[in-house]
């Protein structure tokens, strides 16, 4: 369902910053939703990791001015917002390390998007803003890598369940 990014869709720095705030808010909402889902399924360590990410995205969003008017309808990255985690990219037995691995993928996708925008936007103002945003995003990538390094790497059989919800025919 990917749509081709439209790097010319954003015309001004202000428009870009509004969109970035929405990206960060969307990411926070998705991580919060995943935290709640893991709390409900009693994987509390993983839920806490998602909650930590949600709070981080809230802080990132707060770095940008609040919306003064209606949000722009444009989505220069195509249909899939690079910052927002794919809702089905999770497993009920996943560990906190996997959570940060997922976050790292999203931060790296966002970084790639800003780097591409900095090169391909036809608007000088947007290009300059995208360069600043890419630099900021590099900081997020480094932070997530540090957090991953602090966490134990899950064992190879992390997704084995002695009482699986769906057993194969013949088991």
């Amino acid at each position: 369902m990917n749509k081709t990014p439209d790097f010319g869709a954003v015309h001004t720095s202000a428009e870009l910053l509004t969109i970035v705030r929405l990206m960060e808010e969307g990411a926070a909402e998705r991580y919060r939703e995943l935290a709640e889902a893991f709390e409900t399924s009693c994987n509390l360590d993983t839920a806490a990791a998602f909650r930590e990410l949600a709070e981080g995205e809230d802080r990132h969003a707060a770095e940008f001015p609040a919306l003064a008017g209606p949000a722009p309808r444009v989505t220069p990255w195509g249909e899939e917002d690079p910052e927002i985690a794919d809702p089905d990219a999770v497993h009920y037995l996943m560990h906190p390390w996997h959570v940060f691995e997922l976050a790292l993928r999203n931060e790296e996708k966002t970084l790639s998007f800003f780097e591409a925008l900095a090169v391909q936007s036809p608007h000088a103002e947007v290009k300059a803003e995208a360069v600043r945003l890419a630099e900021r995003e590099r900081g997020h990538v480094d932070h997530v890598k540090r957090r991953m390094a602090e966490l134990p790497v899950p064992p190879d059989d992390w997704d084995e369940d002695d009482d699986p919800p769906n057993w194969e025919a013949g088991d």
Binding site: P87, D88, P165
Partner: protein
Amino acid sequence: MSSCNTSATYTAKDFKSDVKPVWCPGCGDFAVLSSITKAFADLGLAPHETSVVSGIGCSSRIPAYTNTYGFHSIHGRALAVGQGLKLARPDLTVLVAGGDGDGFSIGGNHFIHACRRNVDLTYIVMDNRVYGMTKGQPSPTTESDWDASAMAPPGGTGMTPFHPLAIALAAGANFIARGFSGDPNGTAEIIAEAIRHPGFSFVAIMSPCITFREEQRDWKNTMRQTAIEATTDSAQAARRLMTDDGFNCGVLFRGSRNSYGKEKKAVAAVSDLDAEFAL
């Protein structure tokens, strides 16, 4: 439902309740819930002008998660309740939601006759081709040879999968579309258009069950935006739907039938009807 300020502009968040979904982590229904609430907000609706009615199943828990009027009704009967509500309260936006088992098996007959009746409501089916709540039995839309669960017969059911979109068209639905939970913004646009369209609007949303049909994670690579414009010609729509592989998303048919009930007027006063029941 907690909000009824008629002058306010509502956001998608305002349409979500404080009840946290019990769906499995990664379930496609989370995204469908977001698409529904986004569609309500984009249409400028208010929670007190909106209702969500469901049957039974994982996806049918959705009224609890929305901050609108709601009715978590009985298995397969959501459309009966939803149509009754719309006829009694035509001012409400009525959205009926549920799963493929609820809608096409237990409620299969209601589905066909709701299409025929063409009451002005929107029916969303979150289709994951399995009964998830009861741990993985084949549903009407399950592939005939699917047997990757102890709950399925060896070799699969051997039954031709139900084709909900083609059946909806043949039965008279006035708007037919397919969405994908992996494209929540696109799905929200389809839902908004379905609500705006008069008559019975049917939206099948492919929503993976990552617990019992883990292979459906691959849908993100197979679902595609349809390359064709929606048609208003039911014969053309029939040809398209009968050659459809189940992965085309978008609005596929826009009909022009009048909604049921628009032309109907009361032929007797309520007091006259009461009199007929007097003992």
